[in-house]
Symmetry: none
DNA sequence: CATGAATGAGTGTTCATTCAT
DNA sequence: TATGAATGAACACTCATTCAT
């Protein structure tokens, strides 16, 4: 998820300056391969061959095959977090910010389906996830939304009888829920109407009535 | 999907009469194992051990490991098709029949989540699916619904400006779409309200207004 | 240690009847290779090639490479225990039995230097030894000697103020101590004079004076 | 063997003056690591990390991993030879000199068990030993003893009907023989009584009777 | 003098599959 | 009908070593 191909984000640019060529080629090779097959069915030999490097090089730069995956995922989540923050900068009002965040979430899912799919289906349910760097990066991302909710509660826009964390979970969970089928069945989705749907529910359930714009 | 434990369907009974003990034991072994682990992580050694037979016996009865999976899946789809037909027997009117079929679909998904999951996630997107017996059985199943739609068009209950096959696809696709998240996130789902939702849409979009009961 | 090449012991004969050819070939291959290189420097590929079988066959019959080693070692220890028992059958008096056991120990070390070396140097000091089948077989062997000591204590031939287990340890430990250099430097050793040396010590330190023959 | 920690021998001092820092750090790293694991199980990566230098630097100063080992071993043997010579300076009489040499040998084994063990078990039996610098240094050391024996023969203290080289071999071989078990089983040993034992044998078998002090 | 980057050749182990009986 | 024996091909991962800079 969360990758904006073409646009090189700040952190990516930094990475390319510091990271050795081989490391980048390996990461790109896995990204490419993930487009066509599942992580488990991709072999290290294949990754190396696609990257045009020696198999052993993978283990110089990444702890193991799964470590490489987590690194890629984490990188995109961090990139995404950055983009989200930039996106929110020129929006006013908690409700509008949340709406923007929801739209951004869908947009991000949409723009990088592979990573969304892998994160949700192949990584998150596996043991060790909560110790992975992917988890920490995902948390950083969701913390941005959490902070938004807390702000909303503080300034009275959002009801204060539900813990902020719950509300954040419901918002991001709903997005995922709504997006998942389009991900699995590889169909297009109308992200504007999805955003609208979730906002309707939020208006009725989370925000106080008078705050509706 | 589509298994009705306890109730031995006609085709299953037939199978048990004709199929050698070993073949059945192998199929059951895989079914059992699939409840706890993914198909790829199940080894033939494990299947044989669970079945209490020799590993080589798998290859006497099935082309290979994947063939065994397709056979099981196909069996359940055929069983399911039979059940669906029985179900529809005492329902009158195309709309009511379709509604029943939709409910049955959800019920079947629900009763055998493993097979649904495997079919949708582990089998259908893989190369060779359209040559597999699973595909043919799935087609037989969907043909029952297709026939229903065609009847509806013939008797004027359903609009005739959309190809029957499209309508059938939309119906079954919607069911899957609605059910999938509950499958992936392993949550319960209210099949009655799901049925109702889909029927609402069908009423507005597919059936002619006056046909609403 | 403890193997008597040429002479096929009862248990070995039984083994050869029941064990598949491949399993025997693998075990023999490792035995052969151990004559020239250390266990760690022998690869599974080498074992398989020497045995004339496929590498994977090793893992059908043995848990892993180390398991194969333990199995071989254990087999020889069990064989040896059997031989020792036969050897002791026609000896009278605890002292004479112990003397025979000591002589047998040296003879066994001598006849199968490879196994002695591996057991003492490559296996016994490694983690997991006390859970290995080698340990259990070695224990069965030493239990024969322990029983002898206990008999001696019971019939008054051996002093009763030192635990039987200590005495057994001292006896077998002394044998090993005395034999080890000849093992490592691969030199011949006079087993009769070694036996005599240890017996002298035993007479002065363990047996009561009057029991000396 | 043969290391005298704390005391910096002349050759070591020389070495430290001439050798680049990196080379010394690498040698020390291996010495440190050898205290806890076998040479084969130590990786070049580990050596470099412990030394705080780049892995490739090992290959600038040493032919390969084994070359590094030989260099260390050789260094200690040369150090040891120097110490032995110093030790013998203020001893009079061939017999007393030899006795001192024997005691020194045990003392040296004792003070640096790791090197003794590696030399005897891991290095000396391997192909290429006789071309290694370790062998040449070991020879320089044993030549000191050989010279002693030759002196004894010349001045009539030692019988002249056995080649000097044989006598030297017997002396050093006996020391090793006696020390080895304590090395392998990692037990303490009384070096004074060991020295005495060997001297007894020498007196009876090598020296002429009247030369006994 | 020292290093970052890269690799060839293995390392033990696994697994679906075949075949003679 | 069923099995014991055997295997080819792959698997993730490791390591000593090289080389350009």
């Amino acid at each position: 998820m969360i990758v904006h191909p073409g646009k090189k984000s700040a952190s990516n640019a930094a990475r390319e300056r510091s990271d050795p060529e081989g490391k980048i080629k390996i990461a790109n090779a896995l990204k490419t391969l993930l487009q066509k097959k599942s992580f488990n069915s991709i072999t290290t030999a294949e990754i190396a061959k696609t990257a045009g490097v020696n198999e052993a090089l993978i283990y110089r730069y990444y702890k193991n095959k799964r470590g490489l995956l987590h690194n890629i995922l984490s990188q995109y989540l961090l990139d995404s977090e950055l983009q989200l923050k930039l996106c929110l900068r020129d929006v006013n009002g908690t409700f509008n910010k949340l709406k923007k965040a929801i739209w951004f979430q869908f947009d991000t899912y949409n723009k990088n389906r592979i990573f969304a799919k892998i994160h949700v289906i192949e990584v998150r349910n596996f043991p060790g996830y909560f110790q992975s760097e992917t988890y920490f990066s995902a948390k950083k991302y969701s913390d941005v939304v959490l902070k938004l909710v807390k702000e909303g509660i503080a300034n009275g826009e959002i009801r204060d009888d539900i813990p902020a964390w719950y509300i954040m979970q419901i918002i991001l969970g709903s997005c995922e829920h709504l997006f998942l089928p389009s991900l699995i069945f590889d169909r297009e989705i109308d992200i504007d109407s999805c955003t609208e749907s979730i906002c309707q529910i939020l208006l009725q359930g989370v925000f106080k009535v008078e705050s509706a714009s």
